[in-house]
Symmetry: C2
Subunit: 324 residues, 2 copies
């Protein structure tokens, strides 16, 4: 099958074997996959991953132990867990000590004609949610993880730093709480998506120094963290949503004096994300900058790196079940 893989370099391969389906896992024909900033970091060497990329997808189940799943249109949680370690015992599957992660760690990903993933990781997509929206379930769940981790009061002021893929989802999700959300970014075309939905935005030229109860760092670079530090109020919370190479210089004492909470935040719950998509409470369509066929993966990655683009999708319309 075709697949976009990272080894020595990023490549579109034509003859990757279709993955074998282990017991308990489903073989899924990928319809659409999304390119995430984490993918852009991986091809710079982040996490040392080698293999088929991609962890955002929607697809159709081709084969599974559970016959009822076959033919279902699904999205999938990306952490495949052991079910036995202390984290699994505590129900915290995303932190399983023996986890593999789709397209990120120890498991080939979704930028391919087919993928395998444990059946228990799959969620059926409601009929009213098109593929082009369902493919946002994973990053939308990651945005919702903030609300799993910390209380966001309707009376809060919230600053979201970064108007990229994740920042636009985070701002929309947090604004649903009734809190006053201000999105800070550098891309007028991206901020406009939020402004159209009535969310306050501030571009690069605007002076902005209001203190926030919660500041969410979504820029994916260390400068964003320092910016977040400057905006959080005493006893406030900084949420770190981006993963990237490198370190940041952190003055610890002011964190102590101001009793600031710093919260790392990763994968979130899929079911609520699907509910928000079904109820059309989050605009994801406006985030799609381009859709490329899988075989034009290199162009797609180039497009995903472009400053004015937001989400770039990979389509797998030509996947042919007869080639299994």
């Amino acid at each position: 099958m075709r697949a976009i893989a990272f080894g020595e370099r990023l490549e579109v391969l034509a003859d990757v074997p279709v993955p074998e389906r282990p017991a308990g896992e489903a073989l899924v024909r990928v319809s659409l996959a999304g390119i995430c900033n984490t993918d852009l970091e991986i091809i710079k060497g982040y996490l040392g991953f080698r293999g088929v990329l991609g962890h955002e997808f929607v697809g159709l189940v081709q084969d599974a132990d559970d016959q009822g799943l076959i033919g279902a249109r699904v999205v999938g949680e990306i952490n495949a867990y052991c079910g036995h370690c202390e984290y699994c015992a505590g129900g915290v599957f995303t932190h399983c000590l023996r986890r593999t992660v789709l397209g990120i760690h120890g498991r080939h990903g979704a930028m391919a004609e087919y993928l395998v993933l444990p059946e228990r990781n799959l969620h059926r997509v409601p009929a009213s949610v098109p593929d082009s929206e369902a493919v946002f379930t994973e990053p939308l769940a990651a945005a919702l993880e903030i609300l799993e981790q910390t209380q966001v009061k309707p009376s809060y002021e919230i600053a979201v730093i970064g108007d990229g893929k994740l920042g636009l989802l985070v701002a929309q999700v947090l604004a649903l709480t009734g809190a006053r959300v201000v999105a800070l970014g550098r891309h007028p075309n991206k901020l406009a998506i939020l402004a159209e939905r009535g969310i306050e935005t501030h571009g690069e030229g605007d002076a902005y120094d209001r203190k926030a109860d919660v500041v969410v760092e979504c820029t994916g670079h260390p400068g964003g963290f320092l910016h977040a530090r400057s905006l959080v109020r005493p006893r406030g919370t900084i949420v770190l949503k981006s993963t990237y190479h490198g370190t940041s210089e952190l003055a610890l004492s002011p964190m102590v004096v101001d009793e600031v909470t710093l919260l790392g935040s990763r994968c979130g719950p899929f079911a609520p994300a699907l509910r928000l998509l079904q109820r059309r409470l989050v605009d994801v369509q406006s985030l799609i900058s381009a859709v490329y066929p899988l075989e034009r993966g290199l162009e797609a990655f180039e497009a995903a790196r472009k400053r004015d683009n937001i989400k770039v999708l990979l389509s797998n319309q030509q996947a042919d079940p007869s080639r299994l």
Copy 2:
């Protein structure tokens, strides 16, 4: 009056004017004052404070608007707040935007014969608590602040890094919850104080790599933070209790992947600290390494810097009310 002050350098002065008592404040004759690591940092230039040092004290009220306070033996919360700003309105007085802080910021401190502090900051010391224990109320309250900020479950494993003044109090306070507390330090004589109370300790030679739900950083240097990072489990919390000059290199991505919470923690509640002292649930007597008269302040500071010493106190037995 005599006072220990930091200006160009640390000095014991003999002729500092007794502070004027503003309305709403009490004049307190200091009986005992403690030297804290923050004082040792201030004389290295931390926070830029100039003036009479000291924020840990017990003393007798000499004069006050509230006549009932006169003669009372008191300890005092160190943040003098405005009562009107948004933090005060929310009851978060320790973060008052216009606060002065005893011996730390904009207000002369307790290493003197007399100090002034708002009457509302004072707490009466129960008769059964001697001065030599009451002087620990402030740092004990700071240890309790951890429990104000985050839930510590009895089933938790907790690592306390640093066996200095604050670390020994933090370990004792957290062990009262029933949690399994392990104190990590480099001073056998200090760890022994905890071991005697049945708290697990690990010295420098012991390999220690058990993951903890909560790790409290009490060392006062950046290496302690990196150590804390290595010990905290996924979704765990690092509490920063020390203030010091300088920054630490922080790799942000692993904080995100592991969804770690980093919590800055400063001043805490006095009333619970006094209750713990009254009920003799925390051993503070063993922490006293030396008591110096105020006029031997320079020797006292030298002693406080010595590796094997813990708490050094300054006594003001010769304070003479007739000199007012």
